[in-house]
């Protein structure tokens, strides 16, 4: 137990260091920018004195390491600057749009994890069968598909040709007036369920299908491949033979005994696929007009809104590092043998 606590502390310290480094990177990038942030803030019609005043206000006249210090201090206090485009605090922009992106991410990753592991396990158990071949092709295709292309493809097939699912936004705009969603968590699916807003629930669910599936393609392929590979190795181990020799039911042997041993590397891949999912949200939100962080970032990129860009980047990095930390800890918890150095 003590070893585990020690490990957790070490990892936390490491993560903190990494985040520090990342903040330095984002800060440097923001300052490497050729144009003058102050000028951008005040606009193209400002006079020289206004630009100068803005520059002082932003602290741009101070030496670089002082600027960094202020940047860091502000960031730790939750202040990531003011968006040039919207003139509102970046943090606010982020928190407003976060639930939307999180919901999409959660939906996509759930589909990916569930089906990825299921397909991986089944395909390993049925190695050599047509099902196995199908799953392998399917996973390979999944990791080769450009997310933005898949999104467009799904739009053509499921909206244009079949008309099954909508392709824009999170919810039908008309519903905003007829069946408004009470904002509790910001997650439409949860909020509508909890308030028994069935009409809105169905609509929100329908809207999330195509984007979530698009997002899930790459991670699902990755997870299925990794699960299959690990399961194959595990299923050839002695202890599986022992379990079968003592009459343990096959589905239990595969689904519990073997699976628990395969989860380690699968968790690792989960962390990796989360990275892809994060970048995938960019494209998915863009193409499906999903009002989340991704859309906000793309707009910021277009408008060259540096505080926003850097803020979101730092935020995404923090999130990613945290998730990886959790994944690592989960791995250690699952496998009692993992050396916690």
């Amino acid at each position: 137990m003590l070893a585990k606590i020690d490990y957790i502390l070490k990892r936390l310290a490491m993560s903190a260091l990494v985040l520090l480094g990342l903040s330095m990177i984002t800060f440097t990038l923001a300052r490497v920018v050729p144009s003058d942030p102050a000028a951008l803030y005040v606009g193209p019609h400002a006079r020289r004195e206004q630009v100068e005043a803005m520059r002082v206000k932003l602290g741009l006249d101070r030496p670089l390491h002082v600027q960094y210090f202020y940047y860091l201090r502000d960031a730790l206090h939750g202040d990531l600057g003011i968006s040039i485009a919207t003139k509102r605090p970046v943090v606010q922009e982020i928190t407003e749009r976060l639930p939307s992106s999180l919901e999409l991410l959660a939906a996509g990753m759930s589909i990916a994890t569930l089906f990825g592991i299921l397909l991986g396990v089944l395909s390993a158990r049925l190695q050599g069968s047509p099902f196995d071949t199908l799953v392998r092709i399917f996973s390979l295709v999944g990791v080769s598909l450009p997310a933005f292309w898949l999104a467009l493809l799904l739009q053509i097939v499921f909206y244009r040709k079949l008309g099954w699912f909508p392709i824009t936004g999170r919810i039908d705009t008309a519903l905003r007036f007829t069946h408004p969603i009470q904002r509790i968590t910001g997650f439409y699916l949860i909020d509508t369920l909890v308030t028994r807003n069935w009409v809105a629930f169905k609509d929100a669910a329908w809207h999330i299908v195509l984007p979530a599936v698009t997002l899930a393609a790459y991670p699902m392929g990755l997870i299925a491949r990794m699960t299959r590979a690990t399961m194959l190795e595990v299923l050839s181990q002695d202890y599986i033979r022992t379990a079968r020799a003592y009459g343990v039911r096959e589905w239990f042997v595969v689904g519990v005994y073997a699976l628990k041993n395969s989860l380690g590397p699968t968790l690792t891949v989960l962390g990796l696929s989360l990275a892809y999912a994060l970048t995938g949200t960019f494209f998915v939100e863009m193409i499906f007009n999903w009002p989340g962080l991704g859309t906000f970032t793309t707009h910021s990129l277009l408008k060259v809104d540096y505080p926003a860009i850097m803020g979101v980047t730092l935020f995404a990095a923090v999130g990613y590092v945290t998730i990886n930390l959790i994944v690592d800890l989960l791995q250690a918890w699952i496998d009692p043998r993992v050396s916690l150095e």
Binding site: L152, T279, L301, D328
Partner: protein
């Protein structure tokens, strides 16, 4: 993923196989037998061929490079234009063919850069250990803590969009993978007797690394690089799609998908076909990489 060492670097990993002539011949033998592998090699050969000779093969080379023909825009696939024309009347097939050159350029540059930067660092880290290892590993952790595409996006956003900047940005976020890979191999080789023997007769560390360690890294690097080719095509296409890579009117496949997006529902061929090109290319490299891995590196370096 990025910080735990349990997957890579422990001494239990067996040494990769050296790339000898016999192994190459065996690889070729396997590829020729496996229909999927054969398919992937053919596709890649086609891509290389088109990249080299595209301008002479494309039916409308000038349009491929950007010349517009607005009266003929939005033409569906037909005998004159096998894949139709886009919103500015340019022949889609020609643009895809000419685009091969760009599509293959990025992965080549990126992979070479990533290997040149990453591999030596990995060898140094693995061989010397201690603070060198620590330093390099923390550095890779830093870069790996970022989803690679996000890092690339941020860099390009800062320095300005262009193909060159995109390539450099992707390379910057890519090298850590090779460092980890080579470090893992180095660690498993460092304890072997032949290295100890070489050291005991006074061979310098540099020579050991160059002559004993790095040659053994060729196969895993080759496998990884093949797969990475596909992934970088994807990454570069994604950046271009976002407007952060190649700029118009270059026939970059990702750019073409993005430009045709508004017309997706009716003039589907403008976006769909370049996207298909990306997909098939990535698929081919992934397939080949998988086959190579099965042949050259049965104990996989995950």
């Amino acid at each position: 993923m990025q910080i735990s060492d349990t997957a890579v670097g422990k001494d239990r990993t067996p040494a990769p196989q050296r790339l000898s002539h016999r192994r190459l011949r065996y690889t070729l033998h396997v590829i020729l037998r496996d229909p999927l592998a054969l398919f992937s090699v053919l596709i890649i050969a086609l891509l290389v061929f088109l990249a080299l000779f595209g301008p002479w093969i494309a039916p409308y080379p000038e349009q491929g490079k950007g010349r517009t023909d607005v009266p003929n825009r939005f033409l569906p696939p037909s005998r004159e234009h096998w894949l139709g024309t886009d919103q500015l009347g340019r022949d889609v097939l020609s643009r895809i063919i000419i685009g091969c050159r760009i599509a293959l350029q990025a992965p080549t540059v990126v992979v070479i850069l990533a290997v040149v930067i990453g591999a030596p660092l990995g060898a140094l880290a693995g061989y010397f250990g201690g603070w060198v290892d620590n330093l390099i590993m923390r550095l890779t952790d830093l870069f790996l803590a970022f989803p690679s595409l996000l890092l690339a996006v941020t860099i390009v956003a800062a320095v300005g969009p262009s193909l060159t900047n995109a390539m450099i940005a992707i390379a910057i976020s890519w090298w850590p993978w090779y460092t980890r890979l080579v470090r893992g191999v180095t660690l498993s080789l460092r304890e072997r007797y032949f290295v100890e023997a070489a050291r005991s007769i006074g061979v310098s560390s540099g020579a050991i690394i160059l002559r004993h360690i790095l040659p053994n890294c060729v196969t895993p690097i080759l496998v990884q690089a093949t797969i990475d080719f596909g992934t970088v095509i994807l990454a570069e296409g994604s950046l271009a799609f976002l407007g952060l890579g190649t700029q118009p009117p270059a026939p970059d496949w990702g750019l073409m998908v993005s430009q045709g997006r508004s017309y997706i529902l009716d003039q589907w061929w403008i976006s769909t076909l370049p996207g298909l090109a990306i997909f098939v290319s990535v698929l081919a490299f992934n397939l080949l990489g998988d086959t190579l891995r099965d042949v050259l590196d049965p104990r996989q370096y995950r």
